[in-house]
Amino acid sequence: MEHARHVFRAALVLAVATAVVFLGRSLLVPRSYGDYGPYRADNVAEQARVRAPRHGGPASCAGCHAKQAEVRAAGSHKTVSCEVCHAPLAVHVDGTAVKGKMPVDRSFTLCARCHRRIAGRPEKFKQVVLEQHVQGPLESGACLECHDPHSPKL
């Protein structure tokens, strides 16, 4: 009789310990953890909708700015996305509603970022030594006096 009581006590301790472990585990480990590996599987979907895409690509601009899009597509800047010189689409529109003014950078630094002659650029790529290329002071708008940024070839 006494032995049975010993067995019962030990079994009770074991049962309680097991229950504590499983209860603790279920509280501490996230629901989807381990579904596909040692990580929280729900995070994959969370990452996919972490924010709405902010860049829309040239096609998203062409909807409203068909003329500029046409000029760009026909010119030597056809591979340069609108958002490279302006800003991401999300700055300008939210869905179909205009949200803010799209920045227009007319400074020569905008052009220089790609076309100033520096070490590292491929030889074939069109580059200028600014000091030789521009007569007079290098001020804002200097490049745009001669070049149309949407189709810069003269």
Partner: protein, 280 residues
């Protein structure tokens, strides 16, 4: 009889040191302590195996996860291709990444490096990750070649960064993207140190690890990563190895592509065309 033998054993304790203290092997029809404990341990072990096995079966039986509506991650396996001969170092990619992913100031998920190399030396620079382009360069040696190399997380197949994460915050998706679960990350920074490419950083805002996600919020909607979207020269390309006619897949299959630091056996999924030996 048994009882008598037990007492004998106890009495001869000093002399019987060789066979050690011996548990009574059965007293009055009960179970000895040693047998009992051994039995309990076996039972507990068996129960653990059954429970753990059951949990494992339950998890593998779950339906396929859908990162986005109508998106199945088993149908994609992404890869990135950089043609270093085309890069002009304009930094559009770095600016686009910042705008798209709200990257904290002075931290970079992608950046551009400039290598100026001569017979007598070489110099690498990346002023602010190349976000404002590059200034003219002065070197003490005579440069014989110079080129730009865009860098990004390599989304390795055998990732050092995931291996060291103590809390399971870093993982690789089935479509081949290495991501960080900001909710689980404790900001210990092990992964930042483990990455041989320097692709990770601890965000000063969230104090958790951050890195390039290949714009997972874009690619799961069929868009390209922002850096690829704005690249004016086609230096950066993004592709899907599960599509037979994908240009990136064809380039990897047919061209002589290289990866960064192949000796580390991390199996990067960013491939480079026309890479110079100077690049690490």
């Amino acid at each position: 009889m048994d009882h008598a033998r037990k007492i004998d054993g106890a009495d001869g304790g000093a002399g019987g040191a060789a066979d050690g203290p011996r548990a009574p092997d059965g007293c009055a029809g009960g179970v000895g302590r040693r047998d009992f404990l051994a039995g309990v341990l076996k039972l507990a072990g068996g129960a653990f195996v059954i429970v753990a096995g059951g949990a494992g079966l339950a998890s593998t039986g779950e339906a396929a996860a859908k990162p986005g509506e109508g998106y199945d991650w088993n149908e994609h396996r992404y890869a990135y291709l950089v043609d270093t001969e085309k890069c002009i170092g304009c930094g559009s990619c770095v600016r686009a990444c910042r705008a798209e992913n709200d990257v904290p100031d002075d931290f970079y998920r992608t950046w551009v490096e400039r290598y100026v190399v001569g017979l007598d030396g070489s110099k690498v620079d990346s002023p602010r990750g190349g976000i404002d382009g590059f200034p003219p360069e002065q070197t003490a040696f005579t440069p014989t070649k110079a080129f730009f190399v865009p860098k990004i997380c390599n989304h390795c197949t055998e990732t050092p960064c995931i291996q060291v994460c103590p809390v399971g915050a870093s993982y690789r998706t089935r479509d081949g993207v290495v991501l960080v679960d900001g909710e689980r990350c404790i900001g210990c920074g092990y992964c930042v140190q483990a990455c041989p490419y320097g692709s990770r950083f601890l965000s000063p805002r969230t104090h958790t690890a951050e890195k390039c996600t290949w714009c997972y919020h874009r690619i799961t909607k069929g868009l390209k990563p922002a850096c690829v979207e704005v690249c004016p020269t086609g230096t950066r390309q993004f592709g899907d190895l599960r599509r037979a006619d994908d240009p990136v897949r064809l380039a990897i299959e047919r061209e002589r592509v290289q990866i960064l630091q192949p000796h580390l056996l991390t199996e990067p999924n960013c491939y480079y065309l026309h890479l110079d030996k100077e690049v690490r």
